[in-house]
Symmetry: C2
Subunit: 405 residues, 2 copies
């Protein structure tokens, strides 16, 4: 297959690109490298030393003889170039990772909020409109998030995308299928909730074939392919904006920083290992919907955990302290989360569990690159509202820690 990977320079996009190239597909990365610019803006860098995308592609070629093509293009701002690119290359599938994906970054200031909305919505919509305009019947696989549902549901298992509801009509109750209602908790999550409606529209109006993967929090670093050469290593974000909770705990443990749990740590979240994420995308690619089908939605996650349990687990594994600090987010203090993921299991996914994979991460990644960590970048400081901002403290190593276990 000829596959376009939009956002292929990112944390999930890069290992996906390698995996698909390895499997024999012709892979084209389209990326505007905005994520690297944001590192520069924030003054942070990947824990793992990361080469330029051009260099990474060169090394992959040297190692395997396979070419990965890189195209610098801004999906949100270059609609005409995107169209020309599609018309020229006519991909069989398009995998769309190319969005601003950090909730804390999306909540920093109004500039970050508007950037996130303008970038993500225009990127997704430009792509949809361009596929229709060029008449290319590619399978579009998009990375969404479990977070669109918010975390304050009534405790029912979250189905894979759809819900049948009963509506009272003059002729009695009737069933209707709806998108499972979303309740996004940040501007970032909100953009994914908007994406979903755009997908529904374009599938219905234009027969676009779309798969939307509602992904859990991705953890881990290596995949089979990134392991093959030091310079193929994946990025690993640990800062307060882009670092996801588990990865942050890992590096906190590595540098003997307290494991900072927000609020009571009662938030339950869904997780998936990067290797599984990559496999799921391949499975989804192989199982495309037909023209006229509704959007196919998968829950792409393998485990759920309460944040404080994770912290305690890593604490036990590494001897680190757990520190409870004020929560910068506006969210329920405690929530349950049950997620259905039968579809991927039925397609043959065999999950890497936290229990198997964690220790490797601690040793091979966190400890190995610990000298590159900037401690001052570890606290999560983007507050969801002005009132919350006042409760935060710049120094979770010090006085804002409420209790330590």
């Amino acid at each position: 297959m000829k596959i376009a990977v939009l956002g292929g320079d990112g944390f999930v996009g890069w290992p996906t690109t390698l995996h698909l190239s390895d499997a024999g597909h012709e892979v084209h990365i389209i990326d505007n490298l905005s994520r690297r610019w944001i590192d520069t803006e924030l003054g942070v860098q990947s824990l793992t030393p990361m080469d330029s995308i051009q260099e990474r592609c060169r090394i992959w070629h040297e190692l395997t003889g396979k070419r990965i093509h890189f195209h610098l293009l801004d999906l949100a701002k270059e609609h005409e170039r995107l169209k020309s690119w599609l018309a020229e290359h006519r991909p069989d599938a398009v995998i769309h990772f190319a969005e601003q994906r950090a909730a804390p970054y999306s909540m920093k200031t109004d500039r970050h909020k508007t950037y996130t909305v303008d970038n993500n919505i225009s990127a997704t919509h430009n792509l949809l409109a361009a596929l229709v305009e060029t008449g290319i019947d590619a399978h579009l696989v998009h990375l969404g998030t479990m977070g669109v549902y918010g975390y304050s549901s009534v405790g029912a298992p979250i189905p894979e995308g759809y819900l049948d509801i009963e509506i009272d009509t003059p002729e009695g109750k009737k069933e209707q299928e709806i998108l499972y209602p979303t309740r996004p908790g940040s501007v970032y999550h909100m953009t994914k909730s908007l994406d979903q409606i755009m997908f529904q529209f374009y599938a219905q109006n234009d027969g676009l074939r779309i798969t939307d993967l509602h992904q859990g929090i991705v953890w881990g670093t290596h995949t089979e392919q990134t392991r093959r050469h030091e310079q193929l290593i994946n990025r690993f974000d640990y800062d307060g904006d882009y670092g996801t909770v588990l990865n942050r705990f890992l590096i906190q443990a590595a540098i003997d920083y307290p494991l900072t749990v927000h609020g009571t740590g009662g938030q339950t979240r869904a997780f998936i290992h990067i290797q599984d994420s990559v496999r799921c995308i391949e499975l989804a690619l192989g199982d495309a919907p037909k023209r006229g089908d509704r959007v196919r939605i998968f829950n792409q996650m393998t485990e759920t955990h309460r944040v404080r349990d994770l912290a305690e687990l890593i604490g036990r594994l590494t001897g680190s302290r757990v520190a409870y600090v004020p929560n910068p987010r506006k969210e329920a203090a405690e929530n349950d989360l049950v997620v259905r993921n039968e579809q991927f299991l039925a397609l043959g996914l065999e999950p890497t569990t936290l229990e198997e994979g964690l220790l490797e991460e601690v040793v091979e990644v966190a400890k190995r690159y610990a000298h590159r960590i900037d401690r001052s970048r570890v606290p999560a400081l983007s507050a969801w509202t002005r009132d919350i901002a006042q409760t935060l403290d710049r120094d979770p190593e010090g006085k804002s820690i409420r209790s330590i276990s």
Copy 2:
């Protein structure tokens, strides 16, 4: 009250501005005049001769001694200027009309699709982020549309915004309140569906006080204030993109053009007279939600009619023929529509019915300005898909008419 009317140069915005100024409020129009530019792009013009916004404001002042302030500002592109404006003027209420609002225009080409999404989403989101950033606790009243729900529901009455559903949980069925599910049928309608989710988020996260008016199709031209001077007259769109169905029938009747009904005309739509629309907005303004309340949603409409019944009605009134032409839209051929609107009735709205108002429109507007009509602009030619485009005909006066009654 100090009120900002965003999009105050438009079809609903202008009479609203006059109405509120007349009632003693300090009114500021913010508009980028994009609607006038679109007239230029399409080579169409309002049936009624419309002065510049500056001239209209001058005449209102001459007539009443009251000032309407006009500010040229693009909500979608000038976030910083918007913030400064808000911080300087600190309005008590903001009425948001400023979006590209024609479904056919939004479906013309990919350029029109991306313009509509980028303009409407950025305009709405910039406003929300700016209100949060400036800390202004204004009541935000937005004009949404009944069209977000699509027109293929199971026949249940459409409630005012929310629906209680039952969800199966391990502990039995539980009730949950959700936004009434949307199913937008055009890119334009889709943007309003996205707006709704942004409102929900900002009401929940930041306590913004928001009212969303899900409006039916507006018909009619005059309000009490626009009648006071010829140069205060409201715009009246009759072209295939911006003309709404009833207004189009009226001018077709005036120039002895067949009343063009799309498909079987079995589509049922909700309607409201411009005078009632303006009153509803005033009623909504007077009934603001409190900080922390959910978004208040009203269905702003007074009657529903099947399109072919409307055509037949106007045909009887004027002696015009009704012509059934291929439908450029992708939609169900026939649908029922029952809409709840108790909230506005409870607030005292006394609807102007079609039966009372129609004849005046025919005589005072359509016939009076009939000499300004460009017949070639009457057909609706924006097709929802490429396949549909091929079924359309450039000349509904001639061969594409399937049957005439």
